[in-house]
């Protein structure tokens, strides 16, 4: 049996941010993310910090704690902490000048000629003598971060509120684009259970578009069954198929809608195990693949580990029943049950997000807009 990180963190499943969530996927991820933002809001509001650098340290510390408590399973938590850190940096830098924040978006040209802001820190050497984090921040932060400004708290709280309202309007913003992607008499294939995809399809159906949805059952979690039932209740013509029928069914499908677990910096996608099969079959049949995701799922991670990126294994009890293991022959069999798949950016045609629709090659720009490059390191 291959045991993933699940074993070492079993004690942390009671963490409050997990809420009513299941282990993977079945959780309401938007709920978790919103609660994380609320936590950060109350932390920023209630703790005493003197200047921007201290606030960033605080946020970074919280980010690390959340990661240890199970945030490695939910990349959106780290993303939203990074988002708020970027907002804080922006607020501090903008306080000195009169120009509004929006005009400070780096143009492509200025990014090209910009000096690098990060210094190489040898983390392995320095972990004994104080946190390398402090050293890192102290070396690179401009003076503006160390001046005490009483109105900084107010603007930071406003920025956090903006992040919060972004999350609240998430589904509305994505669903507004539903009609431009779903057309009459289309056959749409979807893989995996996702609230985002469900609401997207229901929004199109409510605007009187007639289309068919093919839902793959996603063994061994069987989450496709829930998705199919929910769509059928909304009056959408739904067809449920096995995972093995994906290639066969693709010949009749017009579009594929995939939900995201995380969107990577290179435009790749981390989604339910089996999504790579769907994307490959779609590519072979020249069927466009559209991924629905909120910006909060955008991670500044690259797929250096291939299929192991942001992946983990869960118990094989869903693959084979415990009772069957009493059979002598089954004793030495290895079971592999990964949770996610990595899908290459070449296989995805479009990312539909609450901030608009983008091609995978544009994702790096969204990264620069939402997070500051100094915060890209993982919270491990």
């Amino acid at each position: 049996l291959r045991l993933g990180r699940l074993v070492s963190s079993s004690a942390s499943t009671g963490s409050s941010n997990q809420g009513r969530a299941g282990v993977f996927g079945s959780a309401d991820r938007l709920f978790i993310t919103t609660r994380t933002v609320e936590l950060l809001k109350s932390l920023v509001g209630s703790t005493r910090w003197k200047h921007g650098a201290q606030l960033l340290l605080l946020l970074r510390g919280v980010g690390k704690d959340l990661y240890v408590c199970g945030g490695f399973r939910e990349p959106a938590i780290g993303n939203v902490v990074r988002r708020i850190m970027a907002a804080v940096r922006e607020e501090v830098l903008n306080m000195g000048t009169a120009t509004p924040a929006a005009a400070d978006r780096p143009a492509l040209e200025s990014m090209l000629w910009a000096q690098p802001t990060t210094k190489l820190v040898h983390r392995k050497d320095s972990f004994v003598e104080g946190s390398p984090v402090d050293q890192h921040l102290q070396d690179t932060l401009p003076a503006a971060f160390y001046t005490n400004r009483p109105d900084l708290k107010q603007s930071v709280m406003e920025a956090i509120q903006e992040v919060m309202s972004d999350l609240e309007d998430l589904h509305k913003n994505i669903n507004d684009q539903a009609l431009s992607h779903i057309h009459e008499k289309e056959v749409i294939l979807t893989y995996g259970k996702s609230k985002t995809v469900e609401l997207f399809l229901k929004a199109a159906a409510s605007k009187k578009r007639k289309f068919q949805v093919v839902v793959a059952e996603v063994a061994p979690t069987m989450e496709g069954h829930e998705m199919a039932k929910s769509l059928a209740r909304a009056g959408i013509d739904t067809i449920l198929i096995n995972d093995s029928a994906i290639f066969a069914a693709m010949a009749r499908v017009n579009k594929v809608l995939l939900p995201a677990h995380a969107v990577l910096a290179n435009g790749g996608l981390i989604a339910s195990s089996g999504s790579n099969l769907v994307a490959l079959a779609a590519k072979h049949n020249s069927v466009p693949v559209v991924c629905l995701s909120g910006i909060f799922k955008l991670c500044p991670t690259f797929p250096h580990e291939g299929q192991d990126t942001l992946n983990d294994f869960v118990s094989p009890s869903s693959v084979v029943d415990y009772s069957e293991l009493s059979n002598e022959l089954m004793k030495d069999v290895e079971f592999v049950n990964p949770v996610h798949d990595y899908v290459e950016p070449e296989l995805i045609n479009l990312y539909v997000t609450n901030a608009g629709a983008f091609q995978p090659s544009y994702i790096y720009r969204l990264l620069a807009e939402n997070y500051h490059s100094d915060d890209w390191e993982s919270f491990e």
């Binding site: 061994p220 069954h225 209740r233 449920l240 290639f247 066969a248 072979h284 022959l329 049950n337």
Partner: protein, 245 residues
Amino acid sequence: SLPREYLTLKNVGVELQHSIESYLQERLDFASKAIAQFASKKIAQTGDVLLVYGYPEVIPVVLKEAAEQNKKFRVIVVDSRPLLEGKELLLKLRAMGLDCTYITMNALSYVLSQEVTKVLLGATALMSDGSCYGRIGTANIALCAAKVHNLPVLVCAETYKISHRVQLESFTYNELGNPKDVFFDNDDEEEESMMKDLRVLNLLYDLTPSTFVTGIVTEMGILPPTSVAVLLREMNPQDTDSFYR
């Protein structure tokens, strides 16, 4: 062709019986042994990790032959609902003492990216353009293995499975299984009426395009998919006359 005086009903019956028995022996029994010989030659002496799917009858014969030649290899068995034929194959292979891993179809991408060296598949029928009509899910495996990871995909099929038909995709000619095997919701009856929009499709077979298949292992040897039509003619000379009449 028998001389005229020999053509009594009884003799013809006996001739027919012999004919059928020899067909069974040559085209079925002997064929799978021959396939095992050819396919096992392609398995390396050590270090191979073979991926198999479902339960084609010829696969355990191939693997048994390779094991008897003292080859050291691992087998990864892929399975899928609702038939779960892979489990039976798994038990059979474990009984032979082979090192096995068992996964469901969703883990395929992950496993192929790790360590698989060859893919062995079975077929229900071979179309004359070289595409393989097999258990549903076979195409998924061939696609992923051949396209992304450039792994050799060997389809083991006896020549009696070769058909003169050509099929372009899985839907044109298929078989449906019991939809209740896929999804059976026995919760409440009022749900049934709300479920009028939910249909279940239980396809049993699919078509693997010939571009994904590296070689077809038959009792005549290992052939490229393009040679299937030739083999059809070779193996069934009696059909060719009537076909072109």
